[in-house]
Symmetry: C3
Subunit: 333 residues, 3 copies
């Protein structure tokens, strides 16, 4: 899939579809911009006029409370006009219908589309068909990518660990079906992470992992040894029904993150999860709520990162604008 559709002729972000195809410069700019939206007290600068007079359409062909909520909050805090549609997938199965949906919404002068869809490649499809000046953000497409999730994960890691080039990062779970893992692996590699490990049952390891430049483990005790970051994936329970996995209990016994297992990682290792977590399936409740967990922080960073991507796409550097935003707010409050 052509990734350079994401950038304009000057190498600036136009769409945000996948981590694959982005360079370190852009990814670092997103992280820096997100940081400017998070104040020293960990509270987001709540309202800036960066998207005032712009319209963002949230098209969720797949339900997702968390991702949708954080996008909507990011949009409100950027002062956008917002059109949120839960689109009935059954009505838009055919490519032509999806194209009709794009064309009709575009005719409503939408400036930016946020799209979540069960089909891999659907965000690219949208991006290929919108007219100049209109942007597309991928909020998760099939098993392909979930790039804003990966960016908030990178933000969280950098927040706690600074330098990626010295880090060992382990991703644990259903790598094969996870768009989150795909995006994370691309981002970690682009940021020159010292070592990226993938820990999963053999049935859930994708065939092409080696080409992704990761170390494979099917034993969690071995995989976690001396890592700085542990990223747990959500176990999709429907995988149980296929031949991929044994029972939940069995999965927990073999791959669940317990405190005992976590103790094999570095003492200052952090634990991450994209949520919502299945307590007692992929992660022990006490670990999720424990002192090494940064899972809830991730949620808040997700808003900053989404604000950053949207503000970069409309072509406004964050630092300049956040001060303009501040003064404007003072003017109107």
């Amino acid at each position: 899939m052509a990734a350079n559709i994401q950038l304009d002729e000057n190498g600036r972000l136009r769409h945000f579809l996948s981590i694959e195809g982005l360079n370190r410069e852009i990814i670092t700019e997103i992280l820096d911009t997100a940081e400017s939206f998070t104040s020293v007290t960990d509270r987001i600068i709540k309202k800036v006029p960066i998207l005032r007079g712009k319209t963002v359409a949230n098209l969720f062909f797949e339900a997702s409370t968390r991702t949708r909520s954080t996008f909507e909050l990011a949009e409100q805090r950027l002062s956008a006009d917002i059109l949120s549609l839960n689109v009935d997938t059954s009505a838009t199965v055919k490519g032509e219908s999806l194209l009709d949906t794009i064309r009709n919404l575009e005719a409503m002068q939408i400036d930016m589309f946020v799209i979540r869809h069960k089909d891999s490649g659907s965000a690219h499809f949208f991006a290929q068909h919108v007219r100049p000046g209109v942007s597309v953000l991928n909020a998760g497409d099939g098993q392909h990518e979930h790039p804003t999730q990966a960016m908030l994960d990178m933000y969280t890691i950098r927040h706690h660990k600074q330098d990626f080039t010295r880090l060992r990062v382990a991703i644990v779970g259903d790598i094969m079906h996870s768009r989150v893992a795909r995006s994370q692996i691309h981002a970690l590699n682009i940021l020159n992470t010292a070592e990226v490990r993938v820990i999963a049952p053999k049935t859930l390891l994708p065939i092409d992992t080696e080409s992704l430049g990761v170390q494979l483990y099917d034993n969690i005790e071995q995989g976690l040894r001396d890592v700085d970051v542990v990223i747990m994936l959500r176990l999709q329970k429907e995988r149980m029904r296929g031949a991929f996995l044994p029972s939940e209990k069995e999965y927990f016994n073999l791959f669940g993150l317990t405190q005992e297992r976590l103790n094999r990682a570095r003492p200052d290792a952090i634990v991450m999860h994209p949520g919502p977590a299945n307590r007692g399936v992929e992660i022990e409740s006490s670990v999720m709520d424990g002192s090494q967990s940064v899972i809830l922080q991730q949620v808040g960073f997700g808003i900053s990162v989404r604000m950053a991507v949207m503000s970069m796409i409309v072509g406004q550097s964050s630092r300049g604008l956040s001060s303009r935003g501040q003064s404007s707010l003072q003017g109107s409050a």
Copy 2:
């Protein structure tokens, strides 16, 4: 139905319920006002404070993604507070309950109601019962009228053809059940359109069409000859089940708009459709996407027209205010 309820004692727009009963002056003012909301580059001036501090309630007793989305965008771009309710019709079948709904919402200091309801006359019913200062917009009532749709159609025609008095316009499809067609015919007549033709199977021609001042055709080849504008109607598939219509395929064979049939119209004829279209039923896919189609333009004009009607109702002339809006935006951006 008393149409003059729409105008106040000074002849200014108070409600917007039906095209029937409006004069050419008002209709032209709506078109002119809508034009002021559409910039030279076909992009709407995105945000003006005309409805700031006003509350608009969207009551959709019938679902409609497109009409509802364009109303909500128009309201946001006018800076209104918005309350959108999908009302379960089963809970409000009785007139008394509908009246209770009106009274309760009115008590919430709603300034403007946008209503879509399956019963003809329901918007008038609302308008008759709201208190002074509160306005009602009809977003489609049964088989009666859909006046904002007709206004955006007139806007589209004027945009491309200017002078109505020299035009031949054909409306093709299920005229009998179509509130869109009723509103269009009224509007075209008020604007002194040279000739309005109606093309439909005999079973779908309303009995009173002659009183509407239109020419009847049950043959599409003859009806399209030398027209300047072709307006296709959406075929409601549930009509198939009644005795009104043969199969979809048969309908397409007899009344579907193909390029070949369109060639009988004037070479510069435009093709319109209120959407969503059934490709391959009332219109051939290639015609819908072809160079004569202005179907997607209609969607965008729908926002301008709805902004125009709402701004006229709150009693603010558009041109004066759009410049105020602009300067205010510059102040706060």
Copy 3:
């Protein structure tokens, strides 16, 4: 249940969970503040910037069009950012899941939660678990309390009758299961109402009513004699199926408010109902629409009261701010 969780160390409102535990000073301040949001013409000052840059999350685990609409309008008129979620209760039955929901939303930098939930005590549970600076408003929890409803009722009574210490107030209906009645009784007692009467079938009288300091009646004719205020409760039809109640017709015959029965009250008595009313079950249609009914006024006052509570919680006195809001509005309009 510890009620003082509602107040901070300076005795200012931090959460708004129950009328029980509040003092007369706070309740009077809410009523005074609400009054400042209602202009002389009974129209709310529509837009003030008191919550600009703050985010309010509406979590409705139980559906309610009226309560939710008035909260959303109050929030918009205070210029808040708004996240509204209809939460599927089946997904959050366990306490731990509810806590996860709180934690995740909190991580999104929500400043204020409005919660409606079928379980008594759920708003307190939320309040006990949110971090400093985050507030919780109870929009109805099980059979426990519905404090903003009680406050709008007190506002309505004071608007018409001024001095509570001379009033006889009767509450009629299913007292036992009604959170509205519980909140009303507490509020009326705190405001030193001369006499609070409760009128209900014996099967619907709670056991602890005497400790609530009310007079009990199971005969409506006797109970209404000489009262100044009649508050009807909505009859939950599902009570019919239990052994609590006879048929609707029988209930109306025994406890329905007819004009004849109302004539036993004082001639200037007002009739109230939290809505939605069952016409012909707990109240005769003509009484509901009659000259003594203030039921629709209650709805509008509900917005003022909710604005008041939210503005007090963010720690801004209404009168100072409403003038700031006004001038800001003039600046931006």
